[in-house]
Symmetry: C2
Subunit: 120 residues, 2 copies
DNA sequence: CGTCTATGTTGACATACGTCGAACCAGTGC
DNA sequence: GCACTGGTTCGACGTATGTCAACATAGACG
C-alpha cells in the first residue's frame, strides 16, 4: 500500500521510480506509480498541507501548526493520511502531538521526474 | 478555463504561478492553480500521454503516434483535452492529423515548483 | 458529392473522491 | 479514575472522474 516513489533510498542515494517525463514515454507501470504521487498533490488542500510541512522548519510540522486550511479537522486528517499513503509524508506521534515529515529523498525524486533536458 | 500555470511567458522568461513547494506554505490561490496541474498528471493514462508527447521528437506528437495506451480512442481524446485544459499541452491540426505539443516553459515551471532547496 | 480515415463530442454508468458530523483512541494532568 | 485536548476513524452524502459505445465533425481523395 505504501507507494515507493523510490526504492529503499538509503540516505540521499535515491533510486527514482521513473525516468524524467521527457526522457522517453513512460511505461504503464511507471505511470501507475508516478501518477499516484501527482494525484496526491492534485488537491488544493493536500498541496497546501504538503507545502506547509515541506516548508516548515526541519521539514516537519505538527498537525496543529498546519491545520488551518479552511476545512474541518477530520478532513485535514484524511488528507494527511492520503499523503502518507502516497509515500510523500511520514508521521510520528510525540506526546500529545503528531508530527508529519517530508523525506528529502522523496522531494528529490519528484524533482528529477520533472527535470528539464539540458536544451529546452 | 485555460489554466495559466505561468503568466504570459514570452519565450523562456517564465513567470511561475507559484514558489517552490518548500519555500513557504502555499496560499489557497496558489494551491488551487498548481493543484490543477498535478491533478492533470494524476492519472496513469494522462501521464503516459503527456510523457509520450514530451519525450517525442520536437516536443510534439500526432495523436496517432501516442494513442496506444490501452484505452479506447474517445478516452484518449478525452484525456488529451484535459491536459489541454490544464495548460500542459496545446494542439494544432495539420491536415488530417492533430498534433499535441508541450511548451518547454510549462515544463520549466513545473520543475521549479519541485525544486529542491540548495541544502537537502 | 460521397466516402474513408482521423479526432472530437455526447450520454450513460460505475466508481472514486472530498467533505462533514459523530464517535472513537492517545496522552496529559488533575 | 476522570475530564480535557489533539487526532484519527467511521458512515453518509453529493459531486467529480474515467470509461465506453454511438454519433458527429474535419480533411483528403476520388
Amino acid at each position: 500500500m505504501v507507494l515507493p516513489l523510490l526504492e529503499p533510498a538509503d540516505g540521499q542515494g535515491v533510486v527514482p521510480c521513473c525516468p524524467p517525463l521527457t526522457e522517453r514515454p513512460m511505461t504503464a507501470a511507471e505511470a501507475e506509480t508516478a501518477a499516484r504521487m501527482f494525484k496526491a498533490l492534485g488537491d488544493p488542500v493536500r498541496l497546501r498541507l504538503f507545502s506547509a510541512v515541506a516548508s516548515h522548519e526541519g521539514g516537519e510540522a505538527c498537525v496543529c501548526d498546519i491545520s488551518d486550511v479552511g476545512v474541518s479537522q477530520p478532513t485535514v486528517s484524511h488528507h494527511l493520511k492520503k499523503l502518507k499513503e502516497a509515500g510523500l509524508l511520514t508521521s510520528e506521534r510525540r506526546g500529545t502531538w503528531v508530527y508529519y515529515r517530508v523525506e528529502p529523498s522523496v522531494l528529490a525524486a519528484m524533482g528529477k521526474l520533472l527535470a528539464m533536458p539540458a536544451a529546452a
